[in-house]
């Protein structure tokens, strides 16, 4: 690089070369979204990211391999030795005890992760496509369409998501639902609430990108609007999506659990669901039976925590001002005042 300067005097140092070239080279998997952030993180931020990834990984694995992990089915009340019995304390047969309805707590917690994962997928897929599409069109073309969509998005912000979810649950299945209608009720309410967020984030990015010189240069070349939107604008405006997606995921789990807790959830015979189990364990807590409430509760907390940690650290790592780096070697002191704009050195990172 810098051939222009190179023939004037000494060539650039290897450090400079490494700085410029590093983000692009090396094995391809190093550039995958989360792997790349993991490699660029240090210290506490790396700890947060690793912890978040670990918790999320456990959640996803238990959802996928639920039939192998869970000792019983979610709606199983008896095995070869007869009924499990209700509110049994943790034992070798039932590691986490049984619920008031006579289900195995461990099995319900494990199977519950599958329900939660399906809800997340449905909610994210629905709101992502709708929100990104609307944001792109609205931001790029502007005008009255943009104004109307922004007002609608603002209006939707005023709805509490749980209320919407209850309405959706009643509309879809009259309140009591099986696996798919329960998941859809949560997913649709999440979608309604989250479409405006995707919409706004993408729209503001698109408005910013639209005025960048490379979009202008595409216009001067004579590219069609569709080509500019897909090739130049869209790919450059999805940087913040991973963060909103993680927020979206944890919100989806909380809404599903909230629905279950309020009694609009999924029937226990159709699927395992953490919120329903929590609801049924209210009476147990006062009776000193802790295991029916603690384990589904912990499952909700850890899952949401894990996803949020991933989101938070992705956010910090994406922002060069928040990202910590290994200290430069060989020196004695570190300057304390952070004033200088570091945009220049991080441009390659940001641009990706």
């Amino acid at each position: 690089m810098t051939a222009d300067i190179a023939n004037l005097a000494t060539p650039p140092s290897p450090e400079e070369l490494a700085l410029v070239i590093a983000p692009e080279h090396g094995p391809r998997w190093h550039r995958l979204p989360i792997v790349r952030q993991l490699r660029s993180s240090v210290g506490l931020q790396r700890g947060m990211l690793v912890a978040g990834l670990l918790l999320t990984g456990i959640f996803v694995l238990s959802a996928i391999f639920a039939p192998l992990i869970a000792p019983y089915s979610w709606a199983q009340l008896r095995d070869a030795h007869g009924l499990f019995g209700s509110q049994q304390a943790p034992s070798s047969a039932h590691w986490l005890g049984t619920t008031v309805g006579g289900y195995d707590v461990l099995s319900r917690v494990v199977w519950g992760s599958r329900t939660a994962l399906l809800t997340i997928l449905a909610a994210v897929v629905l709101s992502l496509f709708l929100g990104v599409f609307l944001g792109l069109v609205s931001g790029y073309f502007g005008g009255w369409l943009d104004r109307v969509l922004v007002v609608v998005a603002d209006a939707i912000y005023a709805f509490p998501s749980l209320l919407l979810a209850i309405v959706a649950a009643i509309v879809i299945s009259g309140g009591q639902s099986n696996l798919w209608s329960g998941i859809l009720a949560a997913a649709i309410s999440i979608t309604v609430v989250f479409v405006p967020q995707y919409f706004r984030v993408i729209r503001s990015e698109v408005v910013r990108i639209k005025s960048e010189a490379f979009v202008e240069s595409a216009r001067v070349i004579g590219s069609s609007s569709a080509r500019i939107m897909t090739r130049h604008v869209l790919r450059n405006s999805v940087r913040t999506l991973p963060l909103i997606m993680t927020l979206n995921c944890s919100e989806a789990i909380l809404t599903l659990a909230g629905l279950g807790f309020l009694g609009f959830g999924i029937e226990p015979s159709k699927a395992a669901e953490w919120g329903y189990d929590l609801n049924k364990s209210i009476q147990d807590v006062t009776a000193g039976i802790w295991w029916t409430a603690v384990f589904p509760g912990v499952a909700i907390v850890l899952t949401v925590l894990g996803i949020t940690l991933v989101g938070e650290s992705l956010n910090d790592l994406a922002d060069p001002r928040l990202r910590t780096r290994r200290a430069a070697g060989g020196g004695r002191k570190r300057a304390k005042d952070t004033v200088q704009d570091e945009g220049a050195t991080n441009q390659p990172e940001d641009a990706r």
Binding site: M1, T2, A3, D4, I5, L8, A9, T10, P12, S13, E15, E16, A18, L19, V20, I21, A22, P23, E24, S40, E212, A213, F214, E216, S217, A218, R219, V220, I221, G222, S223, S224, R231, H232, R235, N236, R323, R325, A327, A328, G329, G330, G331, R332, K333, R334, A335, K336, D337, T338, V339, Q340, E342, T345, N346, Q347, P348, E349, A351, R352
Partner: protein, 566 residues
């Protein structure tokens, strides 16, 4: 305090930054001394470490920096000096403003828009001296008067947006001077300003050592500014000082090859005009002009009830086939707007503008599209004019793909390689991403993209103003060569008279949206008729201290005389 002691003594300074790509040694082993009342200029290209060196004098480095060495800054309160690098944050705060102050590049962002300027000046005073509110207010008025703000009693209550750019920079300087620091560090103080305003700010900065008893560390890339202002010069390259000498010695007998190359690269008005080429072009004067503007007016609509802003006001000009028209003007003169209007990016609101035989006023986007393949556009900032997610080859292939010459980027690759080689880029650069190229290489690729469809007209909007001076010289050379080989017509927009002089066959000078002067370079630049052109030329600092001293006198006479004209 004794007069012999240097105001600041930097000894073997090393600064290393921790970045994602490993450690970057921004400054390695720099030693500098600034004597009382001296103006030291640190020159160098971007990335040479000049700003980092200056910032370390007042301890303004980011957290990722690691420093070693010593920076001894003389205290204003007694005769001793303190090592800035080892001070606690609290002691460092005492030093800033009192012993050394900083003037930033961009005056419009260095001032807080929600406070009156007087309050902002008084803030520094009250943080250090414990003056009462009214005393600080008086001191603020006083310092505003000394930096040449008219009617300071009233204007001390004004907010930053009520001042022009040059006045804002005066206020930033006032803010730095209010505590009578021994040293003012000016980081590119005139880079963001127009050349006529720059001359005024330089005049003010020149008064600092004599009237305020302040030494100045001036950071700049502009050799003209150095010649105008500096007593001694330190040339930095790649984190090291390659040459340090007093200003006359440096300009008359530069020792280091880098200094020589830097000085040679500075474009100068009248230095090398393209006389030979103009004759070849004059052979076809009857051909229909590529661009013809008659009474061209472009108004940006106002918001709600406020009136629109007329950026271009009844401008007439033509560009003949194969001709390079240089469009010169300061910021806000409407030069970029004209370029954008020709490319169809900004609608024409009045008069007529015909481009390649098509009337552009009121044309629809669809009718414009076939015309676009005959126009190329080179943007100012090569860093942002490429889609960061596409490789250079894909970017250069875009016009070919869009206009159906090639099916996709890989099919267009042979032509792309040809283009890259034409602009002196190795064809392997095609596989790199834009951020992996230097500024000059990106601008070459930008030229390659503009040339992809063999256009009849190229619009170059400040194509070299984001580049370092040595890179600029090479890009301009390439541009001139390509133009004479391919013979495209060109609208070359620039604020730099010397650059336009290098490339243009004809020069048009814009001022506040009006065309004030037009003609061939020799006439416009050597014997300008319009007072504005005269002022513009006189304000341009030249990289020669003796010649610049003469020009300064001429400028003083002219601005004194033309004060009633403008």
């Amino acid at each position: 305090m004794t007069a012999e002691d240097p105001v600041v003594d930097v000894h073997d300074l090393h600064v290393t930054f921790a970045t994602d790509g490993g450690d970057v040694r921004a400054v390695r082993g720099v030693s500098l001394r600034v004597e009382p009342g001296e103006v030291l200029a640190i020159v160098g290209e971007s990335g040479s470490g000049k700003t980092v060196t200056a910032r370390s004098i007042i301890g303004l480095l980011p957290e990722t920096a690691t420093t070693s060495g010593a920076v001894l800054l003389r205290r204003n309160t007694d005769t001793g000096s303190s090592d800035v690098l080892s001070l606690s944050p609290n002691a460092l705060r005492q030093v800033r403003g009192r012993d050394a102050a900083m003037v930033f590049q961009e005056p419009s962002t260095a001032l807080n828009p929600v406070f009156p300027v007087g309050w902002q000046i008084a803030e520094g005073l009250r943080a250090h001296t414990g003056l009462s509110r009214s005393e600080a207010h008086k001191a603020a008025i006083d310092v505003l008067r000394r930096v040449g703000i008219p009617d300071p009693e009233a204007r001390v209550k004004y907010y930053p947006h009520q001042f022009s750019g040059g006045q804002k920079q005066r206020i930033v300087i006032a803010q730095a001077l209010v505590l009578d620091p021994g040293l003012v560090i000016a980081d590119e103080p005139t880079t963001a300003l127009d050349v006529t305003v720059q001359a005024e700010i330089l005049e003010l900065l020149r008064r600092l050592p004599t009237e305020f008893g302040t030494s100045v560390v001036l950071i700049t890339h502009n050799m003209g500014v150095v010649a105008d202002l500096a007593d001694t010069v330190a040339v930095m390259y790649d984190g090291e000082i390659v040459e340090q000498a007093d200003v006359r010695t440096l300009f008359s007998a530069p020792k280091h090859p880098y200094t020589r190359a830097l000085l040679d690269a500075v474009p100068r008005v009248g230095a090398s005009r393209r006389g030979a080429l103009t004759t070849a072009r004059a052979a076809a004067p009857d051909a229909a002009p590529i661009v013809e503007a008659k009474g061209l007016t472009i108004t940006y609509p106002g918001r709600l009830r406020s009136a629109g802003f007329t950026a271009v006001d009844h401008v007439d000009f033509t560009i003949a086939p194969g001709e390079v028209l240089g469009l010169v003007g300061e910021s806000g003169s409407g030069k970029t707007t004209i370029g954008r209007a020709i490319a169809g990016l900004t609608p024409v609101t009045g008069g007529s503008l015909s481009v390649l035989g098509t009337q552009v006023r009121g044309i629809s986007e669809r009718k414009l599209r076939p015309m676009r393949r005959r126009i190329g556009f080179v943007f100012q900032d090569p860093a942002t004019s490429f889609n960061p997610l596409l490789t250079i080859a894909q970017c250069v292939a875009e016009p070919l793909v869009v206009h159906g010459v090639a099916g996709d980027a890989s099919e267009a690759r042979p032509r792309v390689d040809e283009l890259l080689e034409a602009v002196q880029l190795d064809r392997t650069y095609g596989d790199r991403f834009p951020h992996e190229l230097s500024g000059g290489q990106r601008q070459r690729a930008s030229l390659a993209r503009a040339l992809a469809l063999d256009p009849e007209l190229i619009i170059a909007d400040e194509p070299t103003s984001a580049l370092d001076v040595s890179v600029q010289a090479k890009v301009l050379e390439l541009f001139v060569r390509m133009q004479s080989e391919l013979g495209f017509a060109c609208l070359f927009i620039s604020h730099d008279l010397a650059v336009v002089d290098l490339v243009a066959d004809r020069i048009a000078v814009l001022h506040h949206g009006r065309l004030v002067e037009e003609g061939d370079p020799a006439q416009v630049l050597d014997s300008p008729r319009d007072p504005y052109t005269q002022r513009l030329l006189a304000s341009l600092p030249v990289p020669d201290p003796d010649e610049q001293a003469e020009r300064r006198e001429a400028w003083r006479a002219l601005t004194g005389a033309s004060a009633n004209v403008s």
